[in-house]
């Protein structure tokens, strides 16, 4: 067994190839995951030595009114954002799945917002929703509504964020649905038509069920995104007005990087993680029951 043979063995080569990426992922992925878990059982301000306090953080969480508020907002936000953006994506995909003059331009128009960053989108909507000079209030006034405070309104801020983020995500969802729609074999639609189904019936009985996997994925994916809402809140409202738009990740950020209460923040992060894992588990379970890929 000479050195050359060892060096050329598949084990060594394999490890050599995988090593840089795996190292990066371990150092900046696996280690933080574990560390974060440990941190959630500590009291630490990221500067001095941490102190072990067992489950105190989690106990405090369950009684924390600010956390409750943020959790409720996350739920409200998700309850609106998910159906609107997924349903909107489906609607857009159906409309875009036509052979109509100019369809390329329509599709590009719907897809472009995907490219805009959260901050850029926030800035655009900050201006659009400006209470005094914004285009939105101008248009609403024309139909006899408003003016609205949008991001400055205690009652309306969260919903304004919903509208803005739905706008930002419809294109993404539409792409996924469009790909799924194209995956429905033409023959199935033809067979259904010959069998006597009308357009709506074909959609409901053939197309929609076959979109099941895509729908499931999108619901879970957008739910996970909804729970992680941060950028827009930080930039537009700072959690306000008051605590009207307070969300878990914003709370987490404040605790860790502005107030130096990192252990508690880590506990919040882990609670979020558990919620996400439950959602993902649901996806896998429902997915197994829905195995009807067009073959």
């Amino acid at each position: 067994m000479n050195a050359r043979r060892i060096l050329q063995s598949e084990h060594v080569v394999g490890w050599a190839f995988a090593f840089p990426a795996v190292l990066l992922i371990v150092v900046f992925g696996i280690v933080p995951i574990v560390w974060s878990a440990l941190m959630s059982f500590q009291r630490t301000n990221l500067l001095s030595t941490p102190e072990w306090i067992g489950l105190d953080n989690y106990r405090a969480l369950s009684k924390d009114p600010l956390f409750k508020t943020s959790a409720i907002h996350a739920v409200i936000y998700a309850a609106l954002f998910v159906p609107l953006s997924v349903g909107g994506g489906l609607f857009a995909a159906i409309a875009l799945n036509r052979r109509v003059v100019g369809i390329r331009f329509y599709r590009i128009a719907v897809f472009v917002p995907v490219v805009a960053s959260t901050i850029a989108t926030a800035i655009m909507f900050l201006w659009l929703f400006d209470p005094y000079f914004g285009l939105a209030n101008w248009a609403l006034e024309k139909v006899g509504l408003g003016p609205f405070g949008f991001f400055t309104s205690p009652n309306g801020a969260l919903y304004s964020i919903v509208v803005m983020t739905v706008w930002g995500w419809i294109g993404f969802n539409a792409i996924i649905y469009l790909a799924a729609l194209q995956g429905v074999p033409q023959e199935l639609l033809e067979a259904a038509s010959i069998d006597g189904a009308k357009s709506w019936s074909i959609f409901r009985n053939v197309t929609l069920p076959l979109l099941g996997p895509a729908t499931l994925f999108l619901v879970v994916f957008t739910s996970i995104n909804a729970i992680q809402l941060f950028d827009e809140v930080y930039f537009l409202t700072g959690g306000g007005p008051g605590t009207a738009t307070y969300v878990p990740v914003f709370y987490l950020f404040q605790l860790a990087f502005q107030q130096g209460i990192a252990g508690y923040a880590a506990a919040i992060a882990y609670v979020l993680l558990i919620v996400i894992m439950i959602l993902t588990a649901i996806q896998l379970w429902v997915g197994k029951r829905m195995v009807y890929y067009a073959s």
Binding site: V22, L24, I25, F28, S36, V115, L135, W167, Q283
Partner: protein, 297 residues
């Protein structure tokens, strides 16, 4: 959706017109009722962007009017120049470009190597390690944010571009994407090369990668977009104005120039330009990348 479907559905397919419904149409309809749906939809999606561009050409006075000025008096390119003067915008732009390009290259290189290893090579612990890598895909960033910050601080990279580059040089997404893709290539090509005497590295570079154009392009484009648009991590690690990326810089710009809407719009427009250009040039890779995300789920 089968894996094969996604490979066939390149972004280009999603951009091309599709065959009609079942009822045989009269060919291309010039006016279809669907326009009544598509036009408002497209307008709604496009208006915020268009409005931003229009405003970026207005004067301050024009922005302070209600009803809003829909057509500016003239096209004020001056606004864009003002942004560059009043903020280290050019610096932010270069920082973002540097970081993004570095991360894209890093991902392309490291994820290719690792992806190939996981796809074709048998090495001790391969499957366990791959599962671990996959696991990190499921973990939201907020969970690892704090410890990653601490690690980066240990490395002395806080408030440098290194903080933005190093942790992101290789991602699980890229490894997964490329591994799946490599596995769809016919293994006979690589076996023939081995018989011909090529080394593993040679096979990767001379045979596998040249055939992986679509997957590499997709990874590059998606990574570019994510990195360019990233906000939270720069927020956490960068403090000095000179080291900021565009997204972070925009927020400080907005803080300093709250009522200078016209400048803010110009700044935002400039920050979006590269991505918009990339999107128009490489549409199909963007779309393919997004459609593939759906497959991964």
């Amino acid at each position: 959706m089968s894996e094969q479907t996604i490979e066939e559905v390149t972004g280009e397919a999603l951009l091309e017109p599709l065959p009609d419904d079942v009822d045989p149409g009269q060919g291309r309809t010039v006016f279809s009722a669907w326009h009544l749906v598509l036009l408002p939809l497209a307008l709604v999606m496009v208006i915020p962007l268009v409005w931003m561009v229009v405003t970026s050409f207005e004067t301050l006075n024009e922005t302070r009017q209600f009803p809003p000025v829909l057509v500016p008096g003239s096209i004020r390119w001056q606004n864009y120049r003002d942004v560059l003067e009043q903020a280290p915008f050019a610096r932010w732009f270069l920082n973002t470009l540097f970081v993004t390009v570095a991360v894209v290259i890093g991902n392309l290189v490291f994820c290719s190597l690792a992806g190939y290893a996981f796809a074709r090579l048998k090495f001790f612990g391969r499957d366990v390690v791959f599962l671990l890598v996959l696991a990190t895909l499921m973990i939201p960033f907020q969970v690892i944010m704090i410890p990653t910050f601490l690690i980066v601080r240990q490395l002395g990279l806080i408030d440098t571009l290194g903080a933005l580059i190093v942790p992101n040089l290789a991602g699980a997404f890229g490894i997964f994407l490329l591994r799946q893709f490599f596995r769809t290539l016919p293994i006979e090509l690589e076996e023939a090369a081995r018989i011909d005497g090529a080394s593993r590295l040679g096979i990767l570079f001379k045979i596998v990668l040249p055939l992986s154009g679509p997957a590499l392009a997709t990874l590059a484009v998606i990574t570019f977009m994510w990195t360019w648009n990233d906000f939270l991590w720069p927020l956490v690690t960068i403090y000095s104005s000179n080291n900021m990326t565009l997204q972070l810089g925009l927020t400080t710009f907005q803080g300093a120039h709250q009522s200078n809407t016209h400048l803010l719009m110009a700044a935002t427009m400039m920050s979006m330009l590269p991505l918009l250009l990339l999107f128009f040039v490489a549409q199909r890779w963007f779309i393919r990348g997004i459609a593939t995300t759906g497959l991964k789920g």
